[in-house]
């Protein structure tokens, strides 16, 4: 297998570029703790030095267990959080330190879809009003009639048809799947470039999931969207992501095109994660043992490779040296000292 240098895509291809980004949250301390700690402050290393890019028009997935930092990474990309260190470029411009009016203008171009549509929608706002609200904020020059028309069109596009009927409905009057469609419509009304979808279908029943995934794929083509798709479910990711990054305890451990990553996982953690996904076929039951223990505390993450205390391959260097992401296969980077074994 030929080892390639880290592929540098043309800058214009990348909608988002994340470089060495860190996000540390200070640990809350009581008064007594503060006195005893004498100025010492602990931090949760939620995201601890990660780099990746999201190419224009692709669905980039971020997967990992709870506490891996995938949601914080998503929030950093859309600048709901400010990075502690590192830089984030969006469409060529450095947005790492934007604030105030500039940041507000950027929001039109990046929208978010969360897991729970009931928590995302104002229970006292009719769907039409909630969906049109983004236009009120970001396109105040539009008249009421124009805004109403665009909202109606968007309702139809997300499959809430007849739109006039759904326009006046309140969130509690419709089903969960319909609510998530309304959230998608609200995200798309400002014609954003990037959608952060943080577990957007995790709450839906299987039959509804398929419909929502289909809708997201179809809207992506129609509106030229780029998605950052955050999920804990590798099976679902298969149906939507083009490329995927696996996170563990604030670090990216592996990034590749989805089919490449699923067929040739090089990191022991990715391998365990893929093996743990239950397969809906009783003839293909898992036989591999799972790694010891659980994801450790991000306040004092292990030194060296963060996965080493649980890793079946761990050797001396792993406890000392943090492995960098290396390109070992075409368009496939992995952060493991011993990944060559799986080539």
């Amino acid at each position: 297998m030929n080892v390639q240098p880290v592929p540098q895509a043309q800058p214009a291809d990348n909608l988002v570029e994340v470089r060495d980004v860190k996000k540390w949250f200070p640990v809350q301390q009581g008064v007594l703790d503060k006195l005893l700690a004498a100025g010492h402050q602990d931090y949760i290393h939620a995201v601890d030095g990660i780099s990746f890019e999201i190419r224009r028009g692709e669905v980039f997935g971020l997967a990992g267990e709870s506490g891996s930092g995938k949601s914080t990474t998503g929030r950093l990309v859309v600048r709901m959080e400010t990075p502690t260190a590192g830089s984030i470029h969006f469409d060529g411009a450095d947005i790492s330190a934007l604030e105030g009016e500039e940041l507000r203008r950027l929001r039109r171009r990046m929208q978010i879809i969360y897991q729970d549509p009931m928590a995302s929608l104002n229970p006292r706002m009719a769907l039409g009003e909630a969906i049109g609200y983004g236009l009120k904020v970001h396109a105040p020059e539009l008249g009421d009639a124009e805004r109403h028309q665009r909202t109606i069109d968007m309702l139809e596009k997300v499959g809430l048809s007849p739109a006039q009927f759904f326009y006046g409905k309140f969130p509690h009057q419709i089903s969960g799947g319909q609510r998530q469609r309304a959230v998608i419509a609200r995200a798309l009304i400002t014609h954003p470039d990037l959608i952060l979808a943080d577990e957007p279908i995790a709450m839906a029943d299987v039959s509804v999931r398929a419909l929502l995934l289909d809708l997201m794929n179809q809207l992506k083509r129609e509106f030229n969207l780029t998605y950052l798709f955050i999920t804990h479910d590798l099976a679902t990711a298969k149906y939507i992501c083009d490329r995927i990054g696996i996170m563990y305890l604030g670090k990216l451990v592996e990034v590749a095109e989805l089919r490449e990553l699923y067929s040739h996982p090089l990191h022991p953690y990715t391998q365990a994660l893929l093996a743990a996904v239950p397969v809906p076929n009783p003839h293909q039951r898992r036989t591999q043992a799972m790694p010891e223990g659980e994801i450790p505390n991000p306040i004092h993450p292990p030194a060296g490779c963060r996965f080493h205390p649980r890793c079946p391959l761990a050797a001396e260097p792993c406890a000392v040296e943090d492995p960098p992401l290396r390109a070992l296969r075409p368009d496939h980077t992995v952060a493991c000292h011993y990944a060559e074994r799986f080539l």
Partner: protein
């Protein structure tokens, strides 16, 4: 076939069991004429979408139902009908024979009680003459078997990880030698690796202690991974019931077929599109006439909207609640 299937020693028999909730909009038929058995030492998966009645049925097996619910039929545990138990008998049954674990262990554990206090209390409530030291000893030996270090006995629930909390919940059932565990979405909030390890634990409990586990879940892949049999519910009724091999290899009920085709898998050779089932589950205050699935069924026959089919074996295999496999000509279809 697993050994459990060959012995077929029955632990629990549910006979023509129905549960009606009285609501302002009229009676809601949450579980409708369900009949099935639980065998000793099997893992059985009970699956279906939200609102299909799987959790209601699971709780009913411990006779847990809100006061405005009306329960009819029989639920026989080792031959005795638990619907006829008096309060004392019922409490004893819930403690010693059956244990239930839920999705969120944090809401089931007492946040200001240590793990050992939970376990000792459980023992002493049901066996009041057990000295504290003996109870603690039992707790200690049990916790090791569940893969929790002994020093964790002194921890409070918030100090444990999600996987360990669920193990403590299982421990609370096992410490009294319960032989049936009802796990209602018990792994749903866990990460896949932790979930996989808890499934291994379920397998071990079945193989080594002969415990029966009813696993209620919306995740059908979990059932394929660990269960011996699968029961599929739709709109309060049992749609299909059989060994996991029978049902996953050849699903008969059109609902089961649709459900399995819409499950995402990580296998790269398989279809890249998920099946999309039309329609939505019915409102159970006014369930459809005949088969409750007929308005969404692509293979519906004229009789399906008129008369309800029975849950009957197909070719000597799984039980299916569907007219496609039953003689309907003599039933007066028009």
């Amino acid at each position: 076939m697993t050994p459990a299937m060959q012995n077929k020693e029955v632990l629990m028999q549910v006979r023509d069991f129905s549960l009606l909730y009285k609501t302002r909009l009229g009676p809601l038929s949450a579980v409708d004429h369900v009949t099935f058995d639980l065998y000793k030492g099997e893992i059985i998966g009970l699956v279906g979408e939200s609102g299909c009645g799987k959790s209601t049925l699971g709780k009913a097996l411990l006779r847990m139902a809100p006061p405005q619910a009306e329960l009819t039929g029989q639920i026989l545990f080792q031959g005795e009908d638990i619907l006829q138990f008096d309060d004392r008998r019922l409490r004893d049954f819930r403690g010693r024979c059956v244990s239930m674990i839920f999705q969120d262990p944090m809401t089931s554990l007492n946040p200001v009680q240590r793990v050992d206090q939970h376990l000792v209390e459980a023992i002493q409530v049901h066996e009041p003459h057990t000295p504290a030291q003996a109870a603690l000893e039992r707790a200690r030996s049990l916790i090791g078997r569940l893969g929790i270090q002994e020093r964790r006995l002194r921890d409070y629930p918030h100090q444990l990880s999600g996987g360990m909390r669920q193990r403590v919940m299982i421990g609370l059932g096992l410490v009294l030698n319960a032989n049936l565990i009802i796990a209602d979405e018990a792994t749903t909030s866990l990460d896949v690796i932790v979930e996989a390890k808890l499934l291994d634990q379920f397998r071990e409990l079945r193989d080594e202690l002969g415990i029966t586990i009813l696993m209620i879940t919306h995740n059908i892949a979990l059932v394929a991974e660990v269960a011996d049999r699968i029961a599929v519910m739709y709109a309060g009724q049992m749609a299909e019931l059989g060994s996991v091999y029978e049902v996953f290899d050849a699903p008969r009920h059109p609902y089961t077929q649709g459900l399995l085709a819409s499950v995402p898998t990580i296998s790269l050779n398989e279809r890249t599109e998920l099946f999309k089932m039309g329609g939505e589950p019915p409102n159970l205050t006014h369930p459809p006439q005949g088969c409750r699935f007929h308005p969404r069924c692509s293979q519906a026959l004229p009789i399906c909207s008129q008369r309800e089919p029975e849950l009957r074996p197909v070719n000597g295999g799984q039980l299916v609640h569907c007219w496609l496999y039953q003689n309907h000509e003599s039933q007066g279809a028009s």
